[in-house]
């Protein structure tokens, strides 16, 4: 409780770190902020070609099917892979001055989140331009799904960033993990092709219900299943609390380890 109160007091610091990160991310590159859009668009093109033209599937509007899952996935994977290094990257600050250390992963995940929100502008543009249509009632649940994903990503980023301080390899290991994780989440394929006997295990992955929900709202144009949403929210909250506990335990020796 006191942690939350303190974090609230430091909201200005979170805000200014997010601003600094967003402004600084593409500084000096010619296309600048456009990279926020170009990068996922090219991934989309590559995956669309590979998974619908080379490996055939019968999912209609596969590009949209993929797009609404890929953008949330990129938010999650960058939160944990790059977020893992966030505390090490701010070591000058951590070693010199006190502030609630959670401010760092929170601001990093938040800036990734803002990036995702900007990409959603593109998603909606695509939906409108291609005439895929929108179910406004379903879209109203979108913020809830986003918050659930944010909570889960934050929990994971806290664990990853805290452990990376003690064990720098984790940053690179997470690169591999996130690739495997992507293929274990129904992003480039449909969940229906997963063999039923693996489903219980498969559903333990918190990203599965989350991606499911995004796709239900934006691709199938339906209000997501309440049980799926609750399951996702439950997992998200669990990992956030777990992440916070781990982080609090590990943060005590940050200044000495860095």
């Amino acid at each position: 409780m006191s942690t939350i109160k303190e974090l609230y007091e430091y909201r200005q610091m979170i805000f200014s770190l997010v601003k600094k990160d967003l402004r600084g991310r593409y500084k000096g590159s010619v296309l600048g902020f456009l990279w926020t859009f170009i990068n996922p668009l090219f991934q989309l093109i590559v995956y669309t070609i590979v998974f619908s033209k080379i490996l055939h599937n019968d999912i209609p509007k596969f590009y949209l099917y993929l797009f609404v899952a890929l953008i949330p996935w990129i938010f999650f994977s960058s939160s944990i892979t790059v977020g893992a290094a966030s505390i090490v990257a701010q070591k000058d600050l951590v070693k010199k001055i006190y502030f609630p250390r959670m401010v760092i992963p929170i601001s990093y995940v938040t800036s990734c989140f803002v990036n995702m929100l900007l990409c959603f502008i593109v998603i909606f543009a695509v939906i409108i331009v291609t005439g895929a249509g929108i179910n406004f009632l379903a879209v109203l649940t979108l913020p809830v799904i986003m918050i659930v994903e944010y909570i889960f990503a934050l929990g994971m980023a806290m664990i990853a960033s805290a452990i990376t301080v003690y064990f720098r390899d984790l940053e690179h290991i997470l690169g591999i993990v996130s690739m495997a994780w992507m293929y274990l989440t129904p992003i480039v394929y449909d969940k229906s092709i997963v063999p039923p006997k693996y489903l219980p295990l498969y559903n333990l992955n918190p990203m599965t219900p989350i991606i499911d929900c995004y796709r239900t709202v934006l691709y199938e144009k339906q209000v997501p299943d309440l049980s799926t949403l609750l399951w996702a929210a439950g997992l998200g909250v669990f990992f956030l609390l777990f992440g916070a506990v781990v982080f609090n335990k590990l943060q005590k020796h940050f200044a000495e380890e860095l």
Binding site: E6, E9, Y10, R11, Q12, M13, F15, S16, K20, D92, L93, V94, K95, K96, I97, Y98, F99, Y166, F167, R168, D169, K252, H253, A255, E256
Partner: protein, 410 residues
């Protein structure tokens, strides 16, 4: 918050550091060379307890590595104690690493916002303080220029202004009053006093006992991870100085070439003269006759100079000069200037020189000694023949201390 309430409570705090002899933080190194990542555990704090009341200012003193800076870092919560508890009540601001988080490409104004945010201020609070911050820093004309264009003095001024305008309940300071020019320093000092009068609790770590005596109500002397003494700064500081001077004597005795043995090349380059007589050894004593070469400001120093004579020197003159570490002469005289009758150095002997009430400021001093003849022809001029150290509890500056009193009543 009630008066007389403890704002800081430190109970039985211990802290050790692992000093890795060869540290590997990568998986490969951890697995392959597990034996190599051996470390030594160094106990920096061995159980420290103290408390500080609201509005009180305390100074932590002790020699390097005694644990005083670690104590301060524990207070800021950059680090956590291994055992024991630390309780702090209220907002903490620290003048430990000034300008942490400054971004060189951003303007002074933007940096004020980010830096103040790091201290936990929100936008509204910063807005209401920004004017006084800029004013205090005296950087109004440059405030919208990027910080990378600032001189280091300007940089520190900006950083100090932010940190001190946070309106903290507890202010932690590590050795920072050496910031900026003398003018700005005295301004900082006044600001600190003002803040203290407003009820802010202050903890200072400093080597300058003078600064501590000026601001603090209490000194805590930390020695080898334990509190050795605690009390009014004037008393504790003196106790500490006494201890340090004794310690320095022990370590300097016999180690440095302080007693002019006539051998080394290096020494030969520092002395010249016709050589009929040579200074053989120099020793220093305190007023009560103990041999020492560390003295306190205002003490008497007795120097005994032993000399050998090869051939008698008529019309001899003896002189000495005192130089600070920058080579500036603080004082110099000789027997002729002092209107002593001329004398003849007939045979080997010992001369005694008593310096009374030596009002030198803290620091090390080289002493030149010379034997001359006639109209200043050097017989044995020995530059930097002897070295003494002066300790002082004053924080004053200059070449020598001018005895003074203030009368501020009129």
């Amino acid at each position: 918050m009630a008066e007389n309430e403890n704002v800081i409570e430190v109970r039985d705090v211990t802290k050790s550091f692992k000093v890795y002899l060869d540290k590997g933080s990568q998986l490969k190194e951890r697995l392959l060379f597990r034996k190599r990542s051996r470390y030594e555990e160094r106990r920096v704090l061995r159980g420290i307890s103290f408390e500080v009341k609201k509005g009180e200012a305390i100074g932590l003193i002790g020699h390097n590595g005694c644990g005083k800076s670690t104590t301060l870092k524990l207070l800021t919560r950059i680090m956590y104690p291994d055992s024991g508890t630390i309780k702090m009540r209220g907002r903490v601001s620290s003048l430990i690493e000034l300008g942490a988080g400054f971004h060189p490409d951003m303007s002074g104004r933007e940096n004020i916002y980010t830096n103040a945010a790091i201290f936990g201020l929100n936008k509204k609070e910063i807005d209401s303080r920004i004017q006084s911050i800029i004013e205090f820093s005296e950087l109004a004309d440059f405030i919208d220029n990027p910080v990378r264009t600032y001189s280091s003095g300007m940089y520190m001024r900006l950083a100090f202004s932010v940190a001190i305008n946070v309106d903290a309940d507890i202010l932690l300071i590590d050795e920072i009053l050496a910031v900026g020019d003398a003018n700005f320093q005295s301004k900082c000092f006044n600001k600190l006093r003002e803040i203290k009068a407003q009820g802010t609790t202050i903890v200072i770590v400093s080597h300058s006992l003078g600064q501590i005596e000026q601001i603090c109500d209490r000194s805590i002397w930390i020695h080898e991870g334990l509190i050795k003494a605690e009390g009014p700064p004037k008393e504790i500081d003196l106790e500490y100085l006494d201890y340090m001077s004794r310690k320095m004597q022990d370590s300097s005795r016999g180690t440095d070439g302080n007693t002019g043995a006539e051998s080394s090349d290096e020494e030969q380059s520092r002395r010249w003269g016709s050589g009929e007589a040579r200074i053989k050894s120099i020793r220093s004593f305190s007023a009560d006759g103990t041999e020492q070469n560390v003295f306190r400001t205002g003490e008497d120093i007795k120097l005994t100079v032993e000399y050998n004579v090869k051939t008698p020197v008529p019309d001899a003159v003896m002189g000495f000069g005192v130089f600070d570490m920058n080579g500036i002469q603080c004082y110099g005289t000789n027997t002729r200037i002092d209107k002593l009758p001329e004398f003849t150095l007939g045979e080997s002997g010992t001369a005694e020189l008593i310096l009374r009430n030596v009002q030198l400021i803290a620091g090390e001093y080289n002493i030149d000694l010379a034997i001359e003849k006639g109209e200043g022809i050097p017989v044995d001029y020995f530059r930097s023949a002897y070295k003494i150290q002066i300790l002082s509890s004053y924080g004053d500056a200059g070449i020598a201390r001018i005895d003074h009193t203030w009368d501020l009543q009129r």
